[in-house]
Amino acid sequence: MLGAMAGAPFLSLPAMARGNILNAMMPAEPGTLCYPLLNTRLVQQICGNIQESLLLLDWNFKPQPNLARSYTITPDGLAYVFQLQPDVRWHDGHPFTARDVVFSCDQMLRQLNPRSRNAFNNCQSIRALDKLTVEFRLKQPFNAFLLSLMASNAPIMPAHIYEGSDYRSNPHNFSPIGTGPFKFARWERGQYIRLTRNPDYWRPGFPKIDDIYFRICPTPEQRMVAMETGAVDIALADDIDTVVSSRLRANPHIVASTHGYEGVGEIAVLEMNQRRWPFSDRRFRQAFMHALDRDFIVKAINFGQGKVASGPIPSAAPYYDGQAVSRYPYDPNRARALLDEMGLKPGAGGVRHRFSFLMIPDGDGIQTRGAQYVRQAASEVGLDIELQSSDWASFAHRTGNWDFDMDNNSYGEYGDPAIGTARFFVSSNIRKGVPQSNIQGYRNREVDALFARAATAIAPREAQEIYSRLQQILTRDVAMLWLFERDPMLYYNRRVHDLVTGPNGPTDGFGHTWLSGAA
């Protein structure tokens, strides 16, 4: 009964900012708005409106001009030269030049942002050839280099603000300056962040919105109310729990879209500490995969959102090869047989083995529910799991220091396996104390060699062949337990148009977005 009543929209809600204003949400307050310093999805989605990258991705993952008007690559794949947009100004009026690009890529990003460091460490030199030309010279070919300049990998920061200062304590971390379509306007602590239209934006005719409000809505039920009542216009990835997606999709005022996060290509996974037995045994990992009904996970636990993952590369991303992967359909009997084969026989109470499962903190969201399902499914084949909840500190600490049996997480591929995938499987990235590295301790010389060759292959065909082979090996080994592709959902009010224009979605900002019915 209450459920039905909850459908009544409350129109008398005190005046929300309407008109030509976009209302969005933040599930938490960011610590800073210095993009390279805190490269989380939340900061990306706010700062994506303020800072810009050299290139944008189109829906086919092809680079399109942004701050860089055009670019050339030498045939040996070693030099990338970018022509920058002329007459671009920072929000404080200072002109944007090649110096900013060199400073950002060679210094600030490289020092602060691990993901950028990974990309720019391929560079031998980054130089300004003239005021509007930048040359990146690589040590060896790196075919994912252009993708490394996209969106969250390489936001261009103002050199005149940051150069020579202590990046971490720069006051502009709380009032960022960029070249983007929106300027930072106000940060009301504990309540909202407001961005306002940049009237001098270099792309004529844009942006079309006057203001953007990101209001803090820490709890899932509030975000749902806010969305349903029209208090906010858009809900970004993970703002809305999949539990209520059916209800939002049924709402005639709201559009649901799965497009906008292909560029991240996030896959929910289980990781096992492969230094420890029985996780070190490939048969155990295979058995575990067979014990999980991943269709059920997608259908029931994630309420139909997402897609069963078949391997390390998301099915919508370049280099995916559905022919190469080994698949592990739900088959508890096969799981039991594999466990028997490796000598894990049922003991007292039918228990074959006991171990712990360190859960990533996600506030009782899909990851926690998934973990509870995994515990249940494992018990059906005689594996007794003890769930351990954690906060970010203990989770990152324990996974980084290899103090776990099994954990769950969710990783982005970021458009190219060399950027987002290799890091979990190459043995050179087994680094104690560092979370989100090869914490499982997976070692395979062939895999090491293949990843190195794949990233430097100049011919796309060659790269494809190597990545196909890699998918074959990794899925055969069950090098990681891929559960499902997240496919985060974007929800927006019908009055919102052109919310996202490419696979990096909200990370590219709302410069093209317009609102119907706005004065």
Binding site: V225, I240, V243, S246, M359, D364, T368, Q388
Partner: protein, 275 residues
Amino acid sequence: MKDFLCRFLARPQTLIGLGVLAVIVLTAMAAPLLFPRGPFTIVGMPLLAPGSAGLPAGSDVLGRNLLACLAYGARVSLLIGLSSTCVALGAGVLLGAVAGYYGGVVDDLLMRFTEFFQVVPAFVLLMVLVAFLQPSLVSSVIGIALITWPQVARIARGEFLALRRREFVEAARTQGLSDGRIIFGEILPNAMLPIVVVASMMIGNAILTESALSFLGLGDPNLMSWGRMIGGSRSAMWVAWWTMVLPGLCILVTVLALNFVGDGLNDALAARRRR
């Protein structure tokens, strides 16, 4: 004592409280018999409404039998409520007895120490403790006991302070009994009733505190508790009210019953004192 019991049982609220409590305790004990597959077994699609086939209370966000979850939740709530109160009682009585019996510097130190717990926001302290010890049954019990024992200590101290100069204590002292024997053998039995009355009111509060911890995701993830059920269905409350309303009602009824009983005890005690 008989008089005390009569007075205690004379109030209808007390009887209602006891009756409800008996039902809850029985359900908690019988949960493994009623639901042999446990609370975590997925029995169907998620968020089925109450009254669906075989699911009188519906299913939760994971497709588990909500009724089974509620029954097992009673076990956890009662277990944590009772055990944390017992721990707090043990620590509080011990320290309060020592302080009240010896007085002087010992007493002073202890009172300063309990003051610390009055000044620090208790629930924040509890969150810190449980989060940092890693959420588990044990850390919840220890945490709740830690923030509640000063209450017991104060009562115990007061009772001991009042009783230590009484004749029977003096008599025991002249007989050459050790301090330990006097404290636990002579004074404690006489001081126990008011302490137990306070403790009876603490159980309900402990259950509320536990549910709040679990609600914030700081409970033991391997146990099905009412607070956890509410916290876990926050996002579902708009599509499936029962996942949130029912466990809340369970907490309310249990704590209410406990407080009715505690109130009865309190009144009976007050009546006895007045005479």
